[in-house]
Amino acid sequence: MPAVTSLGLLRPIMTWRVAVAIVVLALLGLLPWYAPWLETAGIINQRFALTVMTRVLILAIAACSLNLILGYGGMVSFGHAVYIGLGGYTVGILAHHGLGSGFVQFPLAILLSALFALAIGALSLRTRGVYFIMITLAFAQLLYFVGVGLEPYGADDGLTINRRSDFAGLIPDRGPDKFVAFYVLSFAVLVLVLGLVHRLVNSRFGMVLRGARSNDLRMQALGFPTFRYRLAAFVIAGAICGLAGALLANHTEFISPAMMHWTRSGDLIVMVVLGGMGSVLGPVYGALAFLLLEEFLPGLLRLVLGWLHDGTAAVIGRGPAGALDDWLRLAEYWQIALGAILIAVVLHARGGIDSLLGRAGRG
């Protein structure tokens, strides 16, 4: 796998952690090829599997971009979803006006997100800590309400995208192949982004960024204009996230202000922290864990409740028929389980999932 070597993951000796990273990336990358097998085995419909996993990949890209500033730069942006919205709206609005070429849409989405990140970053980076969290939220809310008021583009009802971005016919727009092709595209973008983040954080730029996180004054005293470094990181993160937004709009074939609601920004932070901050692959684990739990936890709980019921039924006999339904319906309260899992991760796995894979503390 050339993609993995380019990440430099094979450079250290094979550790448990590296092995897991390779397996996860391989499982993700090869999904379109073994998905038909999953379907024949009766495990999951291949198209649905691709749909769910495409969304995971795209949000993993967004989480990776947030990780660059949050994990390495200590900048907790609570408005990061706004760039998903900007990227998505660029694609949606251009498509609405008949401009369907992805070679125009995507660069514009990235450029626009970068410009907004530049403006927001320049104003926000004067603040620190919780003030930074809240000022980024403020800017995101402002743009969210602009989206809600955009009546020509559906306001809060959103806008359906009738044609996905056209990459000179390379990515089919119709037929069953479109799901496979789009999945492969999303995976390729994710790998590129991971490579880019890895290169960045291990470069001089990344060292300054990390240095500024732990002691900004010392870095300034050493002669580094840390504000500019931090702003550059903020803009790069915004641009990558805008790219994720352009992909997401294509994936859902729909844009709406809900894409940039503050809860989405919160979800991104949760993914990064859950996966493990300041590790290149952490956000991917975080996105996988969070989104797959959201999708499959209710089903899992039903399964567990069913087993419990069968277990007790074997001992005390079956109750009335309706009782089983009511019992299984408890699975609807799956968010209690999700909440408990999050708390458990914080209390017992400092440094998120990545640290569970044999890594002490945060880098």
Partner: protein
């Protein structure tokens, strides 16, 4: 970890779908089952389950299986759940949808990519009645503008001259105001769009209402918002001085909270629990027996969704594989609606009556709604001519 989750999901699939699943009629149902709007979802699910019960659990001799999914009040989640129902569960019909934005996000997934029938049990954004209409889309509710139009007509007929409008600031809220203005011809002396869904306080708006002294106030505030508005309207003393006219504020879900606050405040609806037809009597009586409360219009529309599906499945003797025949059969609307007469317009929205309802106390002392008049007869929505579908 991923594959383990998938494997578990598969086990679940096996658990939920016994051997006869191949011949069963599968229906997906999307609604909101978590968060502040979960009470609507609960009412809809209860009505769907009651409909299935009334059908003896079978359509054309085949067992019926309904799979409920929670949209969490988010368009993207609703879309993904719709995708799951169509691709993974391979349902023949998807019903439900409370919210316009969830419906709009899911529409293409179900009707076009999935070539599956979608029947909206509540949401009715104007786009789908007009330019976005689709052969696979049907509605057992109404188009958003219609209910407030009925109210506008009622207010107009009453001779009210000056009216103040207030609505929640989202797409359906704006549809509501434009619907009201379509039939009300008097003077609009003020108009407020409030934050949705998190406005805390309406006192600034109410002070304005008092100062311009209108002959009436028309509002659209669904769910918990309506209870909030009406409580504050009473606390300010406005309820005693300026008559209030509503759409989607007072229903069977908000009445147990509003109680006497709702007395004397009319609303409009295409279904009221006392409509005098046999199907409705049976539905309301059995619902009350089972759950101890009156069903809401959300529930009634969901009940109709299942009955509409049943009529088509029966008409085709259980073979729903041919979509052309299925669409033609659904179009006949050959079922007993709780609304009485029911037929589809060219855009697959119903042609139906709209009633004016008022709050009364029933013989047991519960607050409930009563039909007091017909505001519009055999009404068609205002967008069907924009629909290019044949």
């Amino acid at each position: 970890m991923k594959s383990r989750l998938f494997a578990s999901a598969a086990l679940l699939g096996m658990l939920a779908a016994p051997a006869w699943a191949q011949q069963s009629i599968k229906i997906g149902f999307i609604s909101t089952f978590s968060g502040p709007q979960a009470s609507i979802g609960q009412d809809m699910r209860r009505s769907v389950e009651l409909a299935v019960e009334h059908l003896g659990g079978k359509m054309a001799g085949k067992p019926v299986e309904v799979i409920f999914e929670d949209d969490q009040f988010k368009p993207e989640v609703g879309k993904q759940k719709s995708e799951k129902l169509v691709q993974q569960d391979k349902v023949s019909f998807v019903g439900g949808y409370i919210w316009s934005n969830v419906l709009l996000a899911s529409l293409k997934t179900v009707t076009e990519d999935g070539d599956t029938i979608l029947i909206s049990s509540n949401a009715g954004p104007h786009q789908i009645a007009g330019e976005l209409c689709h052969p696979n889309f049907f509605s057992t509710s109404w188009q958003n503008d219609q209910t407030p139009s009925a109210m506008g007509q009622y207010v107009q007929n009453k001779g009210v001259k000056r009216i103040y409008l207030a609505s929640a600031n989202y797409a359906a809220g704006k549809d509501m105001l434009s619907g009201f203005k379509r039939t009300f011809k008097g003077e609009i002396v003020g108009e407020d769009l409030t934050k949705w869904p998190d406005q805390l306080d309406f006192s600034a708006e109410m002070s304005k209402m008092r100062s311009v002294k209108p002959d009436g106030v028309f509002v659209f505030f669904p769910g918990a918002h309506g209870v909030q508005f009406l409580s504050q309207y009473a606390q300010t003393g406005l309820k005693a001085t300026i008559p209030l006219y509503t759409a989607f504020v007072i229903d069977a879900l908000s009445l147990p909270q509003l109680k006497d606050l709702a007395l004397g405040v009319p609303g409009a609806q295409s279904w009221v629990n006392d409509l005098p037809n046999e199907q409705n009597k049976r539905y309301v009586a059995d619902f009350r027996k089972k759950h101890g409360t009156y069903p809401s219009f959300y529930g009634a529309q969901s009940y109709d969704t299942i009955m509409l599906i049943a009529s088509a499945v029966e008409g085709l003797k259980g073979d729903v594989s041919n979509k052309d025949k299925l669409r033609a059969e659904l179009m006949k609307a050959n079922f007993k609606s709780v609304r009485g007469d029911f037929k589809f317009n060219a855009n697959h929205f119903p042609i139906q009556n709209f009633y004016i309802q008022e709050t009364v106390k029933d013989s047991d002392g519960n607050f409930t709604l009563k039909t007091v008049g017909v505001a519009m007869k055999d009404a068609k929505d205002a967008y069907y001519e924009k629909c290019k579908m044949k």
